[in-house]
């Protein structure tokens, strides 16, 4: 959860290269760009992936997501992901024709239900979409740490942002306190549980103690925060770690232009493409170029950053 190098950007580059095991490879490249731009870019890629139900778009998105995963996480974890995603795609491909019976090219029949090629193809595309979306989610989570996300969203929803960060901090604290209560109860060895029912009752009491303790403690915290002028002004200012520079403007403009171009082309392609009753033909190849470029932006950024780093060394 913690940012690997909670230091200045320039320091982070030097400190974290290249053997820093705490941060995934490529995370440093994303320190160059404002997190809002990164968040927007990943959100747009995700939205386009989920909207464009078209074999070519989905294949492009999946391959870009997988190659980024290869770069950032390495061979072994990526292949492990693939090992459970491939059956998922297969399952979607098989389940769809069972639940929906449409199409024209008959494949086979199972107990009065006909399985068509088109149904399988649509199911496979949906499975690919799901796999690509999941991969993009995990890729985004690699480079967008929770502090970056909260930094972007916390400015918009300060109270909710505070609540999220407090909850995240509380979860490990609760686990710790649960252990403390358990050891305190264990110390009273004469009151230990003799039967299973007593054991369960003890657990319930333990959680109840934990709840009461944490709640009262949190209310003390609330009073302490109030004493430190929480809520004294209409709007609280927050520490801003990332500034929106000219480079970020340019990056946002590039993302916006590429995203818009690929959105329009994806819309045109999807309107002209059909799964049922017969699968349509794919359009010209240049129609997929902006989308291909857009989904490979994250990897390109990492590669460019790597090249720059090698030049400096």
């Amino acid at each position: 959860m913690r940012p690997g190098g909670a230091v200045q950007q320039s320091d982070g580059q030097q400190a974290g290269r290249p053997g820093d095991g705490r941060r995934p490879r490529g995370a440093h490249a994303f320190d160059l760009v404002h997190p809002a731009v990164v968040l927007g870019c990943f959100a747009a890629i995700l939205a386009l992936t989920m909207l464009a139900i078209h074999p070519v778009f989905l294949a492009l998105s999946f391959s870009a997501a997988f190659s980024f995963s290869l770069y950032a996480r390495g061979w072994r974890p990526s292949l492990r992901t693939l090992a459970w995603q491939a059956p998922l795609v297969l399952l979607c491909a098989l389940v769809n024709p069972l639940f929906s019976g449409a199409g024209s090219t008959e494949l086979f029949r199972i107990a009065s239900r006909t399985v068509f090629v088109e149904g399988v193809a649509f199911g496979a595309c949906m499975g690919l979409m799901l796999a690509a979306a999941l991969l993009w989610f995990s890729n985004a989570a690699l480079v967008l740490t929770s502090d970056k996300v909260l930094g972007v969203l916390g400015g918009l929803l300060p109270t909710v942002g505070l609540m999220v960060s407090m909850t995240m901090r509380l979860v490990p604290q609760l686990v710790e306190r649960g252990r403390l209560i358990e050891s305190a109860l264990k110390a009273a060895s004469s009151a230990r549980a003799h039967t299973g029912v007593e054991g369960v009752a003890g657990r319930v009491r333990q959680v109840s103690v934990l709840m009461g303790w944490s709640l009262e403690d949190s209310l003390e915290t609330a009073d302490a925060m109030r004493a430190r002028a929480w809520g004294a002004t209409r709007r609280r200012t927050t520490y801003v770690r990332h500034r929106f520079r000219r480079f970020d403007c340019a990056a946002a403009a590039v993302c916006l232009a590429l995203g818009a171009a690929s959105a329009v082309l994806a819309w045109v392609a999807c309107v002209h493409y059909r799964f049922y009753p017969v699968m349509g033909s794919l359009g010209p190849w240049w129609g997929y170029l902006p989308f291909a470029l857009f989904v490979s932006l994250p990897l390109l950024l990492c590669l460019v950053d790597d090249a720059r780093w090698k030049k400096v060394c």
Partner: protein, 248 residues
Amino acid sequence: MRRVLRAFEVLVLVAVPAVLILCAFLRVSQTAVLTLVVALVALVVFFASYEVGRPTLRQVMPTVVLGALAAAGRMLFAAVPNVKPVTAVCIVAGVVFGRRAGFMVGALAAFVSNFFFGQGPWTPWQMYAWGMAGYFAGVLAESGLFAYRPVVYGYGFLAAMLYGVLLNSWYIVGFVQPLTWQGALLAYGASLPFDAAHGVATVAFLLVIFAPWRKKLERIKKKYGPSEMWDFPTVTPTATRDHGSGPQ
């Protein structure tokens, strides 16, 4: 403004299942994304109206603690499929601290625990579904129906089942095309045992925690001040001088 947002909040919360059903009937081709966006918008509108209501710290903190407890409980029972204490905790929160706190507990628990379980397109749905479980618990408690303990347990079972139905609906409506009635029923039927297990687990959790936690929470509420401090936001009229950096 606040009243408008609150009315809007109910509208948006109702809109999520409405759009889902509408998409199923109209056979919209981009249902998966469309309904996901509607769920996200509903969450954002709810959070915005929560912000505008300027909740006091004494409203915020119990919500945070219960959300964290629910998230920790979900992680504790991660090994046992379909046994999730989150629904039960949301219901307790909704009953004791009101519907808005109930929603926030569900949403927070889903969001935070998914950093452990994995974030994905299901996150907004879980946030919404658990949020609604807490929200309706608050509504029912206000109407006085929860005075009868069996109603609470019945509601817990139903809420857990509806949670499953909502999450399945997104998959069925969004990902199976073209959708037929038989196909949808087949899919719902396949997940019925899992949802029922979740429902039974929720009732079991409620049996164990509902009465004692409610009593304990009410006692803490009484201990830490009069009810106005819980119900209304305190607006400090004068801006205090800068006392250095407060907690961020």
